[in-house]
């Protein structure tokens, strides 16, 4: 079993002018399902296409067009639910959420209000070793994404593109269990990591494939505990929803601003109006979205074009049987199998590619050494060049080859770094490259002994000094290595110098 014992972090407390306040945050994450085609049409989901080119007549809501569901999207929702230890509902249904907006061609969004496909689950969000927040998931449902309106191409017109319309989203709804801006960002990071492990969403926030609606309220210390004890929301403050956030940094800034705005109103004797707000990063403030406010009556009802979605337990079991190892389990295994520190294990399990790379290097080798090389040398170098692990010029096999040469004593650590550089720029089999370049540390004691003898003989004054102060023996070691063209094994040289000097 995984050891997930932890203590809960302290909530963020903001000191108001009059007294202290705590934050209460719930999130709705919209994660785009990594499918080829849309949820209810056969149009492509690819990003960056010509406007209105990834559009089927269904997506443009042409008269008489009908939805047919993409089974892969259903499977990904189930997989995500299993990854969040959630209930999978064998019977779910699609509802229409009705509202008028130019980027919503049907005049309704097909979603799942009454019977979502996934029920309650949880996410463990670690904030530091042993300190973690268990965030409860309320539900996950499948729904259609809207299109995109562009407002800055013409002074009097908005331009509408339906490429995104109908792309499958999983809306992952948390309970209000998040207690501060950092926790919110950590929650999104963890959820994103899990989704990427599962392969159900690519997590690309820049393209909007993962976006968050953040519900923020503030309350006096002690109120939240009353809520948790009773699940009665009346103990909490009125919330505002900040829509459509796709940057970890902005999520934190927006929450902080919104909390302070609410505190200022409350301390001034005012009350919070429940509303939808938009974060403006240029001004670092949130403002009310009036357009979304008027006539908030979505008239949900079951979509008569679709039948209830019934899935079989055997199918769910089959998906469960093909689940990958998830981040928490992988991290625990890396720590126990490879002796990694908590920090190193976090870094190496941040994404599947890094974890896979590390594991390939570490397998059958010194795990700690492999971790050092992957984190310090490889990641350091990749970061410097702004490259991703999948584009690494040095493969796990090559890096493993370098580590093997160190382990067998054939090259020194210094040589290994040089060799890494060569492999990075020129490629090749490390053993062959080392051989071709004569990169071989001398371990033949005879040759080294000769060099040591020569240097001792040529430097009687240094010998005296070293005998008086053994720390100065290092000078001889350096001279010997220099004399052997850097090829001598430093450990061997050390031992010989010490012996010859009688230290």
């Amino acid at each position: 079993m995984l050891d997930l014992t932890h203590t809960a972090p302290k909530p963020r407390v903001i000191a108001g002018a009059k007294h202290d306040w705590e934050l209460v945050i719930g999130m709705e994450i919209h994660a785009q399902v990594s499918s080829n085609a849309k949820l209810f049409s056969g149009a492509s989901t690819s990003f960056g296409a010509e406007p209105n080119s990834n559009v089927a007549f269904v997506d443009a809501a042409m008269p008489g067009m009908l939805p047919v569901i993409n089974e892969f999207c259903v499977e990904q929702a189930v997989r995500t639910g299993l990854g969040l230890k959630a209930q999978i509902h064998l019977a779910s249904a699609f509802d229409r959420k009705n509202y008028f907006y130019p980027d919503l061609p049907q005049g309704y969004q097909i979603s799942q209000l009454y019977h979502p496909i996934v029920g309650e689950g949880e996410v463990l969000v670690e904030l530091s070793p042993g300190v973690a927040r268990l965030v409860r998931i309320e539900r996950i449902h499948l729904e259609q994404d809207a299109g995109k309106s562009i407002h800055d191409m013409d002074p009097n017109l908005s331009f509408v593109d339906f490429n995104r319309t109908g792309v499958a989203l999983m809306e992952i709804v948390s309970r209000p269990d998040i207690r501060g801006p950092e926790e919110a960002a950590a929650y999104v990071t963890k959820l994103r990591q899990i989704l990427r492990y599962l392969g159900t969403c690519d997590g690309n926030m820049q393209n909007g494939n993962l976006r968050a609606d953040v519900n923020v309220s503030v309350c006096r210390p002690g109120q939240y505990e009353k809520y948790q004890a009773t699940q009665d929301f009346s103990h909490l403050g009125t919330r505002c929803e900040i829509k459509n956030m796709n940057s970890m940094r902005f999520i934190q800034l927006a929450i902080d601003f919104e909390a302070r705005r609410q505190i200022a109103i409350l301390e001034d004797g005012g009350s919070i109006v429940q509303e939808t707000r938009l974060y403006d990063p240029d001004r670092n403030e949130t403002r009310s979205m009036r357009s979304k406010e008027e006539a908030h009556d979505y008239r949900y009802f079951p979509d008569p074009d679709l039948l209830p979605l019934e899935i079989e337990q055997a199918w769910v079991d089959h998906i469960a049987a093909t689940m990958p190892e998830l981040p928490d389990a992988k991290k625990a295994r890396f720590m126990s199998d490879f002796g990694l520190t908590d920090y190193d294990a976090n870094v190496l399990t941040a994404d599947l590619e890094s974890a896979g790379f590390f594991e390939a290097v570490a397998k059958g080798r010194d795990g700690k050494q492999a971790a050092n090389w992957v984190i310090n040398e490889l990641f350091g170098r990749l970061n410097k060049e702004g490259r991703a692990i999948v584009d690494s010029p040095v493969s796990s096999v090559q890096l493993g080859g370098i580590l093997d040469l160190i382990a067998s004593g054939e090259i020194s650590g210094k040589m290994a770094k040089d060799l890494f550089e060569i492999i990075w720029t020129e490629g090749g089999n490390p053993a062959e490259v080392a051989a071709a370049r004569g990169m071989k540390q001398v371990t033949d004691t005879g040759a080294i002994e000769q060099a040591v003898d020569e240097i001792i003989a040529a430097n009687p004054e240094q010998v005296e000094k070293a005998k008086a102060n053994p720390k100065l023996a290092g000078w001889f070691v350096g001279q010997v290595i220099k004399a052997t063209g850097g090829m001598a094994n430093p450990a061997t040289v050390n031992a010989l110098v010490a012996a010859k000097l009688g230290l």
Partner: protein
């Protein structure tokens, strides 16, 4: 007799024997259509397409590769999207709309070699029972009394009028609450609404998705069997289309219903129902009994609530289905004044584009789905719907094979006669037909006689789910026994 008066069966046989070409048959219909403008049935004529298709049909006929519908000229209700041809659902909001796609039903028919003569008038978005809500104006029934113009019924009024007046051999219709059966009864023709899911809805402008079904409107039951066979079948593009085999409906017309059990629902005997309707019903009962069927009184206790349930569910679905007509992607967009924004564009476009009945139903639907009323209206109506369906399931489980009822509470009434009536009075036209849509069952209207004024009256047979074959056979027996051969006097 001019070829446009033929049935599908007669035309098929003549085409196959080479007694007529599809082009000549089509020409005869095109001539009748041009002479029939006074009926206002055809709203977009497509003679070029028709002749191209007829020529292609003649090639297939000559090659011996001719399905039953090959070369048969049809009228197509304006609710069907037909590629490149105006498809407006008789609404101004779809003004100028020419779909870039072909509905599954028309694609199947044309694939079988059928010929499209043009698009047929209807009530706007299929909402109406008198064909007076069309943006193209009223359709006129070819049957007339004392020189008075009568409604052909609705919403498939153009289809009914065109078939009854022999402007085409047959036509497509759609039926959400009786829109095939009521106009068929008003014009003395046959109309069948198949089991929900039998015919694909893809490419048919949606009115109420859980109730809409397309079906044929024909001169005889045999024609209905032939044409239905070509229209139905599984469609992967419609999630509600059933993946079950399509039997040979025509082969099912054995004329033998001996021992079959016919249910007569007592709840369909409405207060104030005209004597003539009651007499017609009794006549039908006698005909089926004479043919060897066992007639049994049955009870469908929730019948009374079908109409109110229907008028919650259909407008609710319609209010959502019609949200897409917003002036953004196709059809009408209102001219805007300075300072008008997107909301004004929506509101003006929809006010100008939708007629009064459509507006009324969209607003009723909006209201019953709105916060606080959903359970009281919509969910309650869905529960009542479940009970109505259960009523039918019970009698079928008790061994009833088909149910005989009147098709309409009256014969065709005068155009404009109901214009000042309460909307509810118009809705009462659907009283015998809506139960069938709510329960998803197949239902057929068959002309059985004439009333005192000489207007056609029809009876309705309701079948078990998916048993269109049996239903058609019962209808075939009734049709034979009734021997209805009357035709309207040509005045147009």
């Amino acid at each position: 007799m001019s070829a446009n008066t033929w049935t599908i069966a007669a035309a098929r046989d003549a085409l196959r024997k080479g007694e007529i070409t599809a082009v000549d048959l089509t020409m005869s219909c095109l001539t009748a259509i041009d002479a029939g403008d006074g009926l206002n049935a055809f709203v977009h004529k497509t003679p070029d397409i028709a002749l191209d298709q007829a020529r292609a049909a003649d090639v297939r006929l000559a090659a011996g590769d001719a399905p039953a519908m090959c070369g048969i000229p049809l009228g197509i209700k304006d609710l069907f999207c037909t590629k490149g041809v105006p498809s407006q659902a008789a609404s101004n909001i779809l003004k100028g709309f020419r779909p870039e796609y072909e509905s599954t039903v028309t694609a199947r028919l044309f694939g079988a070699g059928a010929v499209m003569l043009g698009k047929l008038n209807m009530d706007e978005f299929a909402m109406g029972s008198s064909n007076e809500t069309s943006c193209y104006g009223d359709v006129v029934n070819p049957w007339k009394v004392d020189g008075r113009k009568l409604t052909p019924g609705g919403s498939s009024g153009g289809s009914a009028s065109a078939v009854a007046a022999d402007l085409c051999i047959a036509a497509t219709g759609t039926d959400t609450g009786g829109s095939i059966r009521q106009p068929a009864a008003f014009t003395g023709i046959v109309g069948i609404k198949p089991t929900y899911g039998r015919v694909s809805r893809w490419g048919i402008v949606a009115f109420a998705s859980s109730l809409d079904q397309a079906g044929p409107m024909t001169k005889t039951v045999r024609d209905a069997a032939i044409m239905l066979g070509a229209m139905c079948g599984h469609d992967a593009k419609d999630s509600t289309s059933a993946d079950i085999p399509v039997p040979d409906f025509e082969a099912a017309l054995t004329g033998d219903i001996r021992g079959k059990v016919i249910g007569i629902p007592r709840e369909y005997r409405m207060d104030g129902m005209p004597d003539e309707i009651e007499a017609l019903w009794q006549k039908g009962i006698a005909m089926l009994r004479d043919a060897g069927a066992v007639v049994r009184d049955i009870s469908l206790p929730h019948t009374k609530y079908a109409l109110p349930a229907y008028y919650v569910i259909a407008p609710a679905e319609a209010s959502s289905n019609l949200a897409r007509y917003d002036g953004v992607r196709y059809g009408h967009r209102a001219k805007l004044s300075a300072g008008d924004g997107i909301t004004e564009m929506y509101e003006k476009t929809r006010a100008e584009g939708f007629g009064p009945e459509v507006q009324r139903r969209v607003m009723v639907g909006t209201y019953v789905l709105s916060a606080g009323f959903y359970d009281a209206y919509y969910n309650r109506a869905r529960k009542v719907r479940a009970l109505i369906k259960r009523d039918f399931e019970t009698v079928f489980a008790d061994g009833v094979d088909a149910i005989l009822t009147p098709a309409t509470p009256s014969a065709a009434f005068g155009l404009g006669e109901m214009s000042n009536a309460d909307p509810i009075e118009m809705y009462l036209n659907d009283i015998f037909t809506v139960t069938v849509n709510l329960a998803g069952l197949p239902g057929i209207a068959v002309p059985v006689g004439l009333d005192r004024q000489g207007l056609p009256l029809g009876l309705q047979l309701i079948g078990r789910p998916w048993d269109e074959a049996g239903l058609l056979n019962h209808a075939h027996v009734l049709e034979k026994a009734a021997g209805f051969v009357a035709k309207p006097d040509k005045w147009w």
